[in-house]
């Protein structure tokens, strides 16, 4: 029987990640964790606090500061049936292991028929005044690479279910967990229990139903978009919010289905504008649902510059409730 932690109190996004890791480590002896400071210290964000005592050093492998070496070793171990879960200390540092991700891990199955069941956990995103190298949303780098799965949950229940699914998946999965949500987003025990069974990699979810405009978002921006939907509802605008959850594969069917009903599309992401995932979604809507559109497809994203250190400067760049609400109102006029 698979382990299922029984939740009795409120559970945060970070708790959900810890629980998913613990349940998988308990269920499957081939699962192990690799990363910097993850063993005794429990990880930079304490996702694996106490795991060393519980699972021992063979399953909690502390590594040197070697992202490429670590990801490459995870690929090798996965090819022999181990299931490594690599923790990037910050998603930004995955650039140091880029070649291992996009050329070794991503292409291995297609090239050789040998599956590479591994997960790379990437604490992602800004909002903490952490500057240009601890705040980035780098998912688009990997969406251009066939062979990877890329997920970005917004809720504890999805973080739990998708991390477990990622660990069980026979493919390399990049798991973008948003730092801003770690301790801010919580679910009651009941709603966590009810929702966590439903998420699978590749499926999006309508987190608010509406008729006039569809807002498509993921990660932190799902929450910001929900707030904006609430704000414009006072102006009588009915907004549907689609939480993508999974970027690769993406749930194109659900996106198009929603657009066909509302006729208006807004795409929101915290990653930079140019070359961001919003462009891909917009293109698909344009190709496959053009005749249903009542107005232009709108994208809201981070401006095309690095993340500034000063909190005020940073906040001015991250898509805000007001900015999203304004775009929705504007689009509604079409």
């Amino acid at each position: 029987m698979p382990s299922e932690t029984v939740v009795t109190k409120e559970i945060s996004y970070l708790d959900a990640i810890t629980r998913a890791l613990r349940d998988e480590l308990q269920d499957d002896p081939s699962v192990f964790v690799m990363g910097q400071d993850i063993a005794e210290y429990g990880g930079a964000f304490k996702a694996t606090r106490g795991f060393l005592a519980e699972f021992g050093p063979h399953r909690m492998v502390n590594t040197p500061i070697s992202e490429s070496g670590t990801i490459g070793m995870a690929v090798g171990a996965a090819m022999l049936g181990r299931r490594p879960v690599v923790e990037m200390q910050f998603a930004d540092f995955i650039s140091c292991g880029f070649n291992q991700v996009v050329n070794v891990a991503a292409k291995m199955f297609w090239r050789t028929g040998r599956p590479v069941p591994m997960v790379i956990r990437c604490p992602t995103g800004g909002g903490a005044g952490a500057g240009a190298f601890h705040s980035q949303c780098v998912e688009a780098w990997f969406l251009h690479t066939p062979g990877l799965k890329v997920v970005a949950p917004a809720w504890p229940s999805d973080a739990y279910a998708l991390l477990r699914a990622a660990i069980r998946d026979p493919n390399p999965v990049l798991f973008f967990e948003h730092k801003h949500l770690y301790r801010r987003v919580k679910q009651s025990a009941e709603s966590f229990e009810a929702a966590r069974r439903e998420a699978v990699i590749g499926s999006a979810r309508i987190v608010r139903s509406g008729e006039d405009v569809t807002v498509i978002a993921y990660g932190w921006m799902t929450h910001t978009s929900l707030e904006a939907a609430e704000v414009v509802s006072r102006d009588g605008i009915s907004v549907e919010v689609v939480d993508l959850r999974s970027l690769a594969p993406m749930d194109e069917g659900l996106i198009l289905e929603s657009i066909r009903r509302t006729g208006r599309a807004v795409i929101v992401h915290e990653a930079c504008f140019t070359g961001g995932f919003g462009g891909e979604i917009a293109a698909r809507i344009g190709e496959k649902a053009f005749e249903f559109l009542d107005g232009p497809i709108r994208r809201i994203a981070y401006p095309d510059h690095p993340v500034p250190y000063h909190r005020g400067l940073e906040a001015a760049s991250i898509p805000s409730v007001e900015r999203i609400a304004d775009v929705i109102r504007d689009l509604r006029r079409w």
Partner: protein, 339 residues
């Protein structure tokens, strides 16, 4: 060992010829490296992992094939420890198809030459081929070794790299991590003095590459890569250490540059006549054959017979692979994701 040195030589000679005939577009020759690759693969066993590069046909042939099953008349008494379950002509044919991009190759035409993997764990074959990016397979090989260690098995991973590939970041990260985690890993540098056109003195500033071992806290050994007996000794020693749980070893095997970077390019012309002659004289096969004759372990007739058998086998196999079907888009490898 001699049989595989000769077999590997004939393999490369055949493909070199096909390049000259225009039947194959590109070939990186392993001629001159067989002393390292055949000896290293002789030192490992069934269930060990081989992670190969572009000049390692000797290791692949040695790891896949059972000489006794190929030529029972020549090797009646040889009881091989491995690969005895593998039908040797069948796998050699697949290998030839792989070199030619044919449907029956290991990657069903998706990947070029040595960029494939072959897993037949029942027969003890765990073979991971390269990607183009030099150095990238070093951490992967160390990861295979980590899996062995986690499983509690005493199997080891053996990986090759050119001296040019040692300048990559993955050489450092992979070897350092292998050392820190004490995984059963042996990294063998095939130092032929050149990377494409770049001489070793423009590649690294230390006297040797073996001395890097000390910096990682592991043994670093330098060996004459044209002396098959010495290479075998050193790799066997490293393998025993790894099996005992004593961690990785770095071996620098110095070989000649008997060919240019790839067949048909002009990189061999960078070597002056004297240097080219010196490299020609370093031929590990000729040297081993001389020593077999000197000590009376073989007669010239025996060596000639082996050469003839090997040449015939290779020509026959490669020629039939040339006629093999080309791949169709729906290959049995599956789509972009594993299910």
């Amino acid at each position: 060992m001699h049989f595989f040195l000769r077999l590997a030589r004939e393999w490369d000679l055949r493909f070199e010829r096909l390049v000259r005939l225009g039947a194959v577009s590109k070939w990186y020759s392993s001629v001159g490296n067989e002393g390292v690759t055949v000896a290293a693969a002789t030192a490992i066993e069934a269930g060990d992992a081989l992670i190969s590069l572009h000049r390692d046909s000797g290791a692949i042939l040695r790891h896949y094939l059972d000489a006794g099953r190929l030529f029972p008349d020549l090797f009646p008494a040889v009881s091989q420890r491995r690969a005895s379950q593998v039908e040797p002509r069948g796998i050699l044919y697949r290998l030839a198809c792989q070199m030619l991009g044919k449907a029956n190759g290991f990657s069903a035409g998706r990947e070029r030459s040595y960029h494939y993997s072959h897993f037949d764990e029942g027969a003890g074959i765990i073979h991971v081929g390269m990607i183009s990016h030099l150095g990238a397979m070093i951490p992967v090989a160390a990861g295979l070794a980590l899996a062995f260690k986690q499983r509690g098995s005493d199997r080891v991973a053996v990986n090759f790299v050119g001296e040019g590939g040692t300048s990559t970041g993955d050489f450092h990260e992979g070897l350092n991590m292998a050392a820190v985690l004490r995984v059963p890993f042996i990294l063998i540098i095939e130092n032929n003095g050149y990377a494409f056109s770049t001489p070793a003195r423009e590649q690294y500033a230390s006297q040797t590459l073996a001395e890097r071992g000390a910096a990682y806290g592991i043994p670093g050994v330098r060996v004459d890569g044209c002396d098959v007996v010495r290479v075998h000794e050193e790799v066997a020693r490293a393998v025993s250490r790894a099996r005992r749980g004593e961690g990785p070893t770095l071996i620098e095997a110095v070989v000649g540059r008997m060919r240019g970077h790839s067949e048909g390019d002009d990189s061999i012309q960078l070597l002056d006549a004297a240097e080219r002659q010196r490299h020609e004289r370093s031929d590990p096969l000729a040297r081993f054959e001389r020593s077999l004759l000197e000590v009376g372990a073989a007669t010239q007739k025996y060596l000639d017979d082996i050469a003839k058998c090997c040449a015939e086998l290779i020509v026959e196999t490669v020629d039939s692979a040339m006629k093999a079907p080309d791949p169709v888009p729906e290959t049995p490898l599956g789509g972009i994701y594993a299910e």
